[in-house]
Symmetry: C2
Subunit: 562 residues, 2 copies
């Protein structure tokens, strides 16, 4: 099994779709020219291809296990982690003040995409650290920053996120973990957390848990939640790991996939923690972390889609079948249809993720509220469409393999099992869609309409070279605009029933915009043919989706009892 | 985990959608009144709920294994098989001359649906026997029938199908297994077969393999294939299992799911076999078996969809979440959307399967070519849409469970892993779609158009009670008609690239017809609301699908190298 990093598509998207040049023109990112970025991505690509991709199957065949209270990780993961850390890929966007490279999110996003395509179970580890670094940079005291950030950035230590409890999943406000103030300004954390990805490992000097908990006087719900950093080993006065903290891994979940990533049930038993941000303001800090994590999880889907696509294509090129034109199953129209859908959707999802990364970078570099609003709109779409695409492409990858796809040794099924969780964690895709039609339309649709205006401008420009495709994109954008207006006229409860199809229709239009733009830039070849495929075949899905979004009849709870 | 057989939906569909009364009016099935059928299904339901459903998890947690060349099956499967056999559920449609009940395929189809929903891994066993019985009834000599059929029908012996070889999957004509004539009129079979479902077990007195092989003088390709029955134990002169035959299970596949069903690599080493049908006419016999098996596999998808739906609904009713109206996650609009899609699609897929069963029964009972042509059109649709629905519903079932869905102990992931193979085996769904736009349109579309005419007649009638829904169904049918005409004007190669979306659009329209008809019969309640949901939300997908079917641009093989 081999993996080749999609450097060509990254360049295409950065140049022709998301307008990366604007990022490089800001003062903040003036050193990150496109050439520099491409060189950096080339380095990361090498590491992903040579070090991480060979570990992919190990995560499945030699799963992480809990032995005497300690997590033992899959064969080779320790060395893979070391390569990630040494390359600086844990947090390439982190602040140089703490050892980061200060590169745009665009770079981190491409690197996460490649690492996910190469070995998702291992990539989830640095993704957790990235979220923690982000949260600490924004909300921690200088003292905490100084202790934790440098070691997290280099990968000497690893970070986790602890939100979920058995009775508090999507409804995070229901959590009950307690934080009691101690005399020295720290807190004693007590409670059980579940679904803690990479809650422990056997290759970093410390594991630092960001834990949501309640102070003794906290009000119920999300307004009474605070955030704490709770290390496995308490840093001593020199900042080195000291005394073992009162926390432990109770068990690992037996999951459908991602067996290389230990998903821990964690028990905090009066563990020493330090508050991050203000008391009762934990949700705000959590959202800092979660917003970027949503982009991160979205590109997990994109990365796996790429890996699964390449894996299926290699099989289709290899599997002899006399009756077809090419002598292989690639000669069959339906096999090409599947592969074209996989490739076209992966490209679309990647372009959406990078558009979000650019919006985040521009928002940060310029402080412009419009960029921040743009990022707000794109976040749930990048997360949900990226992960849905990962799941769909991986399933098509199994199908391309025929019976071989169902046999585990082939590796196709692993992509499908591994990626299946991504539409669930970091806010289910249903929650992403509710965020889009809810909070993200609270501006009366301003950010959405400005995005649709831009797409129509591109479509107008595209009419010069490929009028039929450009017209289809323009029409679809208009349908999406009308659907948005329709949703805006409704109350929230009524919007929510159509939220998921609306989000998907939005992604279809964004994907069409991306395909049209690269096709206009690279006319007459495979890129144009793929764009034509997407726009004539996949974009039309948007009309049914918009109809679904606008249909208001939803069976009532009682109907399911019938 | 509990499973309740969907007896209400069976009755609804038999009465209001597929016109079962016509079957009961034929001489052949005059004893199978609707009341009798309902009573029979009630008995099967009890067995599925009480005996099979409790075995579902065992198939996953205690997989079939090969020990010293012998397959050891999952805990409880032997007893489960005994209950299936004793109830007469292995082959309720088999000829009474050989001990069958002679019931319509409608009954077998409903029973297969229920057994699949209760425990797919075990149900696959009698499904294999059903195919073998069908093939022997139609093609075997009287002598072979007398030896094999009674024991297969009672379940004393079990049957398998042996088509695939490592180099010959969908391209069955590439197979190389040899059959050399022996002096006693039997043949020596030599070769390796793969993906043999239930190739062995530890609970039947014999395992009888139907094996495709080549006679010494056979021409290459499918025209040189003959069919043989090759028993594990060679029947002695009294018809009882005698000498061990020269065949063996080499290994079991390590699959994504269906762990309770041993998928064998079989080696035939000069094993004694008897020819079934004429020399070099094996493909015709195989198709007898495969056509019914396609319906059988289609309802495997439907059955698993039902099981996964019930399992997810139970969770949604149980999972407390304070913020919702009902106090559970069922109060969330998006959870109800998912469950409504699951329920509405399961109903649609079931109605299509039963329409096919009725067409098969009517074709057999009346000999009418129009019914046979109807069955021909519905076969690929029932197979592909049934299994796609199973896969989609099971994946949504995981999603409804949130994080719990990814944890194996919950059982949601098992449905998804188990059912994933159904879109691959018994002819991949791509092959089904090629059959639909290829062979099944060779009559110039006559059978398809007659079906569409009927749907439009129903829609006209439906306008009395629910004009908006009926109009939507009528319009969608017209779009499908135009798409069909469009495909007919093209050559085959050009049709194949749009075959899968065309098949799905067809299923969407058939499903809408079924929902409209039950809604007209049961107005004003949950049934009507579900029909409204399907027709306003899921039916609109057909327009994008028809657009896909009509788009002719498909990337060329070279484009994927780019």
């Amino acid at each position: 099994m081999t993996y080749r990093a999609p450097l060509g598509d990254f360049s295409r998207i950065l140049k022709h779709v998301v307008g990366y040049d604007r990022v490089a023109e800001t003062t903040l990112f003036e050193e990150a020219s496109l050439e520099t970025v491409e060189a950096v991505l080339g380095e990361a690509a090498k590491m992903c291809e040579e070090v991480m991709a060979p570990l992919q199957r190990n995560g499945d065949t030699d799963p992480a296990v809990l032995e005497n209270g300690v997590v033992r990780t899959s064969k080779g993961f320790a060395e893979g982690y070391k390569a990630i850390a040494e390359g600086g890929w844990i947090a390439s966007s982190a602040d140089p003040a703490h050892g980061g490279m200060g590169l745009p999110m665009v770079v981190t996003t491409c690197v996460n995409d490649m690492m996910s395509g190469a070995c998702l179970a291992l990539q989830l580890n640095p993704l957790m650290s990235q979220g923690q670094i982000e949260a600490l940079e924004h909300h921690a005291s200088d003292a905490l920053k100084e202790i934790y950030l440098p070691k997290l950035v280099t990968g000497e230590w690893q970070g986790t996120m602890n939100l979920t409890e058995p009775q508090a999943g999507s409804d995070v406000g229901a959590l009950t973990t307690k934080a009691e103030p101690l005399d020295d300004g720290s807190y004693a954390i007590t409670g059980q957390k579940i679904y803690i990805s990479w809650g422990d490992n056997d290759f970093t000097g410390n594991v630092c848990h960001l834990v949501l908990a309640r102070l003794p006087d906290a009000v119920p719900g999300t307004k009474g939640i605070s955030l704490f950093i709770v290390p496995k080993f308490i840093p001593d006065e020199t900042g080195e790991p000291g005394q073992r903290n009162d926390l432990r891994v109770v068990s690992l979940e037996h999951k459908m996939g991602l067996h290389g990533s230990p998903t821990c049930v964690m028990s905090y038993e009066g563990a020493k923690g330090w508050i991050v941000g203000e008391p009762n303001d934990g949700m705000r800090a959590m959202f800092t972390m979660m917003n970027n994590a949503r982009l991160g999880v979205g590109v997990q889907g994109v990365g796996v889609a790429e890996g699964a696509y390449q894996h299926a294509l290699a099989y289709a090129n290899d599997r002899k079948q006399g009756r077809s034109d090419t002598g292989t199953i690639l000669g069959h129209a339906d096999v090409r249809r599947m592969l074209a859908e996989m490739k076209a959707d992966t490209f679309a999802a990647r372009a959406i993720a990078l558009a979000l990364a650019v919006a985040l970078d521009m928002g940060r570099a310029t402080g412009d509220a419009a960029w921040k609003a743009r990022a707000g709109v794109l976040t749930p779409i990048a997360k949900a469409f990226g992960t849905d695409t990962g799941i769909d492409v991986a399933s098509k990858g199994v199908q391309v393999h025929g019976g071989m796809g169902y046999v585990e040794e082939t590796g196709a099924a692993q992509y499908m099992r591994d990626v299946r969780v991504t539409s669930i964690y970091e806010g289910t895709n249903g929650i992403q869609a509710m965020d889009l039609v809810g909070r993200k339309l609270m501006d009366g649709g301003e950010a959405v309409f400005s995005l649709l205006d831009e797409i129509e401008t591109h479509a107008e420009a595209g009419k010069e070279h490929m009028p039929d495709l450009a017209e289809a994109v323009w029409q679809a954008t208009e349908t999406l605009r009308e659907t948005t207006e329709d949703l805006l006229a409704r109350d929230m409860a009524d919007r929510f029933g159509g939220a998921v199809p609306y989000l998907r229709a939005f992604a279809r239009v964004l994907g069409a915009d991306a395909h049209l733009r690269v096709a206009c830039a690279e006319r007459g070849g495979a890129v144009e043919r793929l764009a034509r495929f997407y726009i004539t075949r996949l974009l039309p899905e948007h009309s049914g989706l918009c109809a679904q979004a606008r249909a208001s009849d939803l069976p009532a709870a009682e109907d399911f009892a019938a």
